[in-house]
Subunit: 136 residues, 2 copies
């Protein structure tokens, strides 16, 4: 029979609170604030369960390990900061009609990944650039 554990709560809590996709290491670190003895194996185990149960979704970026975020976010895209490496959700919308698609191809889904500088890492605000605050 399925059991509720502090570990599972801490892991789901970390993902929910982050408001951006977290790597497995970030999840481990955040959840260890609540459960210091938490093991990376338990993180992976619970991520698999939580994904199968539909609570979280893997966020896949080219050339990188999966990050995870809560499911209820709806359609959105991702922005990766080239400075602090954090990934953010972009909830603005792109109209399907604007997608560049050749006639012969049937598009079932698509991923839009933006790369650049996040708010905290824009060069202009030089007192809040990378290094000004802790980054993961």
């Amino acid at each position: 029979m399925k059991r509720n554990t502090r570990q599972r709560d801490a892991i789901l809590g970390a993902i929910s609170d982050a408001r951006r996709p977290l790597s497995t290491q970030e999840i481990l670190t955040e959840a260890q604030v609540v459960v210091p003895t938490l093991s990376i194996a338990t993180v992976y185990r619970n991520l698999k369960d939580l994904t199968a149960e539909g609570w979280v979704l893997p966020v896949k970026l080219p050339g990188e390990a999966d990050r995870y975020e809560v499911t209820k976010l709806g359609e959105h895209y991702h922005f990766k900061c080239s400075s602090c490496s954090k990934v953010f959700d972009i909830h603005e919308t792109i109209k399907n009609k604007e997608l560049p698609v050749p006639a012969d191809f049937v598009v079932e889904s698509y991923d839009l990944i933006l790369y650049g500088r996040c708010k905290d890492c824009t060069p202009k605000s030089r007192n809040s650039g990378p290094g000004a605050s802790k980054h993961t």
Copy 2:
């Protein structure tokens, strides 16, 4: 001193002729048509050289190993067929102004990856679906 080898020519030739990004295994298979003794190690070695010299570029898709294509293609996107798993180039253009970007973020580049059915794998043309011709 640098030497021209049949292997290098065969590898670059395979990538040039493909007109779509090829995986390392596809490159090996295609180049072996010209140089049957070609080893996968030589493929990787030459891909590294050709990339460093600017002849080819790695194409990175989420959760997948790098594919390679020639550099001279200019700005474009990629389409992955969910049936035959081939990746195709999409040369249509998306206007930057249409990109969904929050005010605080500075976008330096972006990736658009489309998923769906390629021409050969559309259900409607049932005499040219997957299996009708050799796929990689």
